[in-house]
Symmetry: C2
Subunit: 270 residues, 2 copies
């Protein structure tokens, strides 16, 4: 991931809470601690997961708890790890996440970027050795809450078609930016660079609904309205969709994020 601080259009759906937020945070945190995470790291992680559901990003909320638990149990993520600065300049830094929880690493990086930006005008922090960090917007908003423009990007496992390609090329590589507005009328953008995030297809599958043509192609490269393709070899289209509708721009944006996150940190997913 890489985070800029300078100073999101969330289509924001606030959940009518059937469960108290605090209770859900406690549940998530307890699960993570039971899998070996430290209390502090688990609490920080739970905060981001619940925020995703509250903002309507259901694909990045409780739905992802299974992933986090599995990765902790398998040792793929170190729930007690803390990030460290590998090298830095006045306005930039490279951070090693030490294979910790992505949210713990993300908060550390954004806080460091905020501190540097206050001194120099703008700062950028890039990280390697991190894991799934939840919603990108969380970190951009973290800066916005302090009166700055915040940006956050992350690369992801390849799952998006490039224009004229047959195989997945880059991940859903999101772009987020948040800027404080008057009377809390803030700008908050948090978007995958694919037509839709993979979570939207997963939700359609859970609801047994079809997906619109233009979101995904099947294993033969044909447009499909069947969300179950996602579980086999279906591939999301880049933002813009087909070449005629400028899908290559979504491909370009995905590559841009890959460079800022994967190449700059030395950890390219593509």
């Amino acid at each position: 991931m890489v985070e800029f601080v300078l100073s999101c259009i969330y289509i924001c759906i606030v959940l009518s809470s059937k469960f108290a937020e605090g209770e859900v945070r406690r549940f998530i945190s307890d699960c993570l601690v039971a899998c070996g995470a430290s209390k502090e790291n688990a609490a920080a992680h739970a905060e981001v997961v619940v925020a995703a559901d509250v903002r309507g990003h259901y694909s990045h909320g409780l739905q992802r708890l299974d992933l986090y638990v599995c990765e902790l149990r398998e040792g793929a993520t170190d729930g007690c790890a803390l990030p460290r600065v590998v090298r830095e300049a006045a306005s930039s830094a490279l951070v090693d996440g030490n294979n910790g929880l992505g949210t713990v690493v993300g908060n550390f990086c954004m806080d460091l970027a905020i501190e540097k930006a206050r001194n120099t005008g703008i700062a950028c922090v890039c990280t390697k050795g991190s894991n799934h960090y939840g919603i990108a917007g969380w970190y951009a908003i973290r800066a916005s809450k302090q009166g700055l423009i915040g940006m956050s990007f992350t690369n992801a496992f390849p799952g998006v078609l490039a224009t004229r390609a047959k195989e997945a090329f880059v991940g859903t590589n999101p772009i987020s930016m948040a800027a404080p507005g008057k009377k809390s009328d803030n700008f908050e953008l948090d978007m995958a660079t694919s037509v839709v995030a993979s979570g939207k297809v997963e939700l359609a599958l859970l609801k047994k609904e079809s997906i619109p043509l233009g979101w995904m192609v099947d294993e033969k490269g044909q447009m499909t309205s069947d969300p179950s393709s996602a579980a086999t070899s279906g591939i999301l289209l880049p933002l813009g969709g087909t070449e005629m509708q400028s899908g290559y721009k979504g491909t370009g944006l995905g590559m841009m994020v890959e460079i800022l996150c994967g190449i700059l940190s030395g950890k390219c997913s593509a």
Copy 2:
């Protein structure tokens, strides 16, 4: 405009030169000087205009000469003006373009951003009082040629529909990024945040061709394949197109650029 330097997917079509590039540059430069521009400013501007045609961005090449000439003759642009720094920090600056040629201002800002980024790791320069600066990619590539990642954005006159809106909301507000690759296999992205740049519609009109459905809506808000709509009240769609295909993401990207350029500089076009 705003330019970042950190360390493009041009669909690059190189013109088979029916005219020598140098001769076209001289012609453009002479036209601008005849309209009151200084020799140095005219030469710098001509370089960017020809580069647009050479890269296949015909909408930003010689086709725009008429605009530049008219603006100089009407006094809307000061062809002799030079930009100045209004205020600055270690990694950032606000520049007043003094109503000069956009390319002169753009080069000044990117060179300043490069100088600052070399000292601190990243820099951002924002400008007000500028004019049409040609292709955004020119400035990003200017940084890339020096081994850095360059980014450049500019806001533009409103001509793009926002999702669920009836009127043009933001401009085609481009995003560009360039990063140097091995053996000159560079990444160069330069894209409008609308489905297509307005120049593509203008070219279809010149060629008497129709445009694909999904690029533009007519004065009634209906999809149209008639490029002549552009001359009346046709409005481009944001990248993504319809709401079902996530056109709101293109809207969000356009707003992001508007904030970085218009709001930060105090000159919002929307």
